[in-house]
């Protein structure tokens, strides 16, 4: 069996879930009071990498860039899905990187891993929401990119990758594309891993058992790199390497509610009948 080396990019983001996230009086995010978690969309990238690991063997490296606290994000990645080894790029010189400087840093680190056959990223982060970092990193690596991937098949012998993807991110329109390895894959939140053989499921079960143990001692599998390790020129990274200027952040005002809500008790037959009368024409295709 030809095994494959995959790399997964992940990022720590504020935990935006109800009860976790904290805002100050002016509506600004209180970063210090809000816990950092793995970017939720990255879970799909990890699932795609796991499917590749299960089907074809090899190894999966998970990489993140951020402050030392991002170690926990990598631990989460390892515990929730699977990782053979973990890499954190952490350095004061890298602070305030925009997506471009981040892409230069990440692509350099990925090349340092050797040449991975597939690089996976999630569909945009929950904080920046740009969706730029993946494609820009891919551009630096000079690989073909397939985005919005919902299903994946790789032929390691032929070194080809076939993917089902949503066209324009639309669930109604799905196309199948094929490309050569190495390739860069952005997993869509609709991504579904597929394990249709018992051997794959047994391998998955083995990996899960091993993952549980490894996550407890994840730091043994963690490598931390700074810009010197990666031989990066400080002029091209961090704030100095970031052409993007964020002038200000404006809170989005709450949308004015123009519609009036009428509460109906489900046990109130007459009330429910009125609801049905209103909705029936819509169900029939009216507007």
């Amino acid at each position: 069996m030809v095994s494959l080396h995959t790399a997964v990019l992940t990022k720590g983001v504020p935990d935006f879930r109800e009860g976790q996230v904290s805002f100050d009086e002016e509506g600004h995010l209180e970063r210090g009071k809000t816990p950092t978690v793995m970017n939720p969309n990255d879970r799909h990238a990890l699932k795609a990498a796991l499917q590749t690991r299960v089907r074809h063997g090899g190894c999966t490296s998970v990489m993140s860039m951020g402050p030392p606290g991002y170690k926990d994000v990598l631990r989460e990645a390892m515990a929730s899905v699977y990782a053979d080894d973990l890499y954190l790029i952490s350095d004061r010189e890298l602070a305030a990187s925009d997506t471009w400087a981040t892409a230069i840093t990440l692509s350099t680190a990925i090349e340092r891993l050797g040449e991975p056959d597939v690089v996976f990223a999630g569909f945009k982060t929950a904080d920046g929401e740009t969706g730029h970092t993946g494609p820009q990193t891919c551009w630096c690596l000079d690989m073909p990119i397939v985005t919005h991937v919902i299903a994946l098949d790789i032929d390691p012998e032929e070194r080809t990758l076939r993917a089902k993807r949503l066209v324009e991110g639309d669930i109604e329109e799905i196309e199948t594309v094929e490309t050569e390895l190495p390739a860069f894959v952005v997993a869509d939140p609709e991504f579904e891993p597929s394990y249709r053989t018992a051997s794959h499921r047994l391998e998955l079960k083995d990996l899960r058992a091993r993952t549980e143990r490894r996550a407890e001692e994840f730091e043994e599998h963690l490598t931390v790199w700074d810009h010197v390790d990666l031989n990066l020129d400080p002029d091209y990274i961090g704030l100095d390497g970031s052409p993007t200027i964020v002038s200000s952040v404006d809170p989005i005002p709450k949308a004015p509610a123009e519609r009036e809500a009428t509460m109906v008790d489900p046990d109130d037959e007459d009330g429910m009948r009125e609801v049905l009368d209103v909705m029936a024409p819509l169900a029939a295709g009216g507007d």
Binding site: R196, A198, S199, R201, L202, K205
Partner: protein
């Protein structure tokens, strides 16, 4: 290349991770056979219910603790050290100590809860099978047999592509879809089945010690028969677990149907009887309500439970011995599973793997399993006793003054008779041993129980509400093929999660009025289904299990 050669192949596929499947897989793995075990529950045991006492018989070639070291310490609840049979008439009770009967041919017997037990077994099985290149997978439902040229060569699944195997062990339970696919078992005659319902009741271990007068390493089993279940043929049981009680009732399905009895009400009749007040105390907390169909091995244990490469094990083959106070299922499944594995290993060694089925059937006979499941004594009594006329004569003699005098005169002997294993094996399926005799015994010899029982069992709605379901929305696993009341009305009462005038269950009656005429039909909602299989027998259905991981999930079992 034939089609089958394109499929994934394992030397052995075992379907179902209960005790039968676990015993088969562990034994196959010991013989070095590459073994894949497929279990449809989210966890082994999550679909399984039993009374449940598991036995290790002195005469059996295999026992669960011999196959799985540490079983009793880690997977079981308590040993049964005392065994009583209570004859009940109203609030009069006559108790016989039947510990001697229980101990006949018994090396040990433990109370178990299936979720804990089966998931423990599954972990061991997975480790052992993994060594052979196989392993155990949960949440995979095997939905049928794969055939090539009309011959069984493997299995088909909802979640996986078809798999071929040199031997297939179907240990997929009382509602085995594989046994039915192979035409070896059916769901036709209610008189061939029992239905049991059970409540697992929370009782702290110190309260168990106090109320039952036992130590940590002791346990009690109680059986109940008589008039507390009206005229429905069957009985009740109570077993002590580590920190809970298993209390249930088991009835002949044909009798439940004939009496239009509601199983949960019969369970409540037991739970609220004055006799149980001493054990249940004032605070009743039910952990789980469950139900199960039980094959009557006397009638359905298949003498040749195999076809091509398929071997049936345990409930799937009807290997459940319920004869009077003797209720043994899991031990036979364990023996059968290990014998099936042994048969395949032998057949393979002789270069004739296709002879595994015949070898297995022969082993079931030679090792005495079939004789226990289908005792000869029962056949003799059955021809005499299961005729209405004979039953009525016996019943009227028993209830007459002469019969009652006899019962009083024989009181000492009766206790001994109840302890006779040979007699227990002969008990006919009539009202006499289940209802009439215990009632007369209690009336003539019993003492009044004065305790006040304060138990208020939960309603059926509350019981269903406490169960865990992962509903396969839009994909009901049972379809009614005839919704007339005549064909399927029996399910409304016999289904353990349905009842007359209850809208929250599976089956309900509906009256349809059209142009002045009225018709009663039956409707079905599979959401609260506990997958017991009762309706497959008493109603006209197309019955399947839900997909892997879907449907009800028992936490106690």
């Amino acid at each position: 290349m034939s089609e089958a050669e394109e499929y994934e192949h394992f030397e052995a596929v075992v379907v179902g991770a209960g005790p039968g499947g676990a015993a088969a897989a562990a034994t196959l793995a010991r013989y070095g056979v590459q073994t894949l075990v497929l279990e449809r529950g989210v966890d082994a045991g999550s679909k399984n219910v039993s009374g449940g006492l598991i036995y290790a018989e002195e005469s059996a070639p295999y026992t669960i603790d011999a196959l799985f070291e540490g079983f009793r310490e880690e997977a079981a609840e308590r040993p049964v050290t005392e065994y009583y049979l209570h004859n009940v008439a109203g609030d009069a009770v006559k108790t016989f100590d039947i510990t001697r009967l229980h101990e006949h041919d018994t090396e040990w017997s433990d109370a178990v809860l299936r979720r804990k037990m089966d998931s423990w077994l599954a972990d061991r099985v997975h480790e052992m099978a993994r060594e052979t290149g196989g392993g155990l997978l949960t949440e995979v439902r095997v939905n049928g047999l794969l055939r090539e040229g009309g011959e069984i060569v493997g299995v088909t699944c909802d979640e996986l592509d078809p798999i071929t195997a040199d031997v297939i062990v179907a240990a997929d339970g009382v509602n085995s879809e594989l046994a039915r696919d192979a035409g070896l078992m059916d769901w036709e005659d209610p008189s061939e089945w029992f239905q049991g319902v059970k409540a697992v009741v929370d009782v702290p271990s110190d309260a168990i010690a106090e109320r039952f007068g036992i130590d940590e390493d002791e346990g009690v089993a109680h059986l109940f028969s008589g008039d507390l279940f009206r005229d429905v043929r069957g009985g009740g049981f109570l077993y002590t677990n580590a920190d809970s009680l298993s209390i249930g009732t088991v009835f002949h399905l044909d009798s439940l149907v004939a009496e239009r009895a509601e199983p949960h009400e019969l369970l409540d009749a037991l739970l609220t009887h004055p006799l149980l007040a001493q054990w249940l105390g004032d605070e009743y907390r039910e952990r789980e309500y469950s139900a199960k169909l039980v094959p009557d091995s006397k009638k359905v244990a298949h003498p040749e439970p195999h076809a091509d490469r398929l071997l049936l094990v345990g409930d799937a083959a009807g290997q459940m011995q319920a004869q009077g106070p003797i209720i043994k299922g899991m031990n036979h499944a364990v023996t059968a599973g290990a014998l099936a594995a042994e048969a395949y290993a032998e057949a393979r060694a002789r270069g004739d793997p296709d002879s595994a089925g015949e070898r297995y059937a022969r082993k079931l006979r030679d090792e005495g399993v079939m004789r226990k499941l289908r005792p000869r004594g029962y056949e003799a009594v059955r021809t005499l006793g299961e005729r209405d006329a004979a039953e009525n004569v016996v019943d009227s003699v028993l209830t007459s003054a002469v019969g009652r005098t006899g019962v009083r005169a024989l009181s000492g002997l009766l206790g001994r008779l109840y302890s006779s294993p040979r007699l227990a094996a002969m008990v006919p399926d009539t009202r006499t041993p289940y209802v009439t005799l215990p009632t007369v015994i209690a009336e003539e010899l019993g003492e009044r129980v004065g305790d006040e029982n304060r138990v208020r069992p939960p309603s059926l709605e509350e019981r269903i509400g406490e169960l865990t379901y992962d509903t396969d929305i839009g994909n009901p696993h049972i379809a009614l093929t005839d919704n007339s009341y005549e064909a399927s009305g029996a399910a409304v009462t016999a289904c353990p999660v349905s009842a007359r005038d209850f809208g929250g269950g599976c089956y309900r009656e509906e009256t349809i009025r059209t142009n002045g005429s009225e018709e009663t039909v039956v409707s079905l909602d599979t959401q609260p289904c506990v997958e017991c299989g009762t309706c497959a027998i008493v109603a006209e259905t197309e019955w399947e299990h839900p997909r892997g991981g879907k449907g009800v999930e028992f936490r106690e079992g």
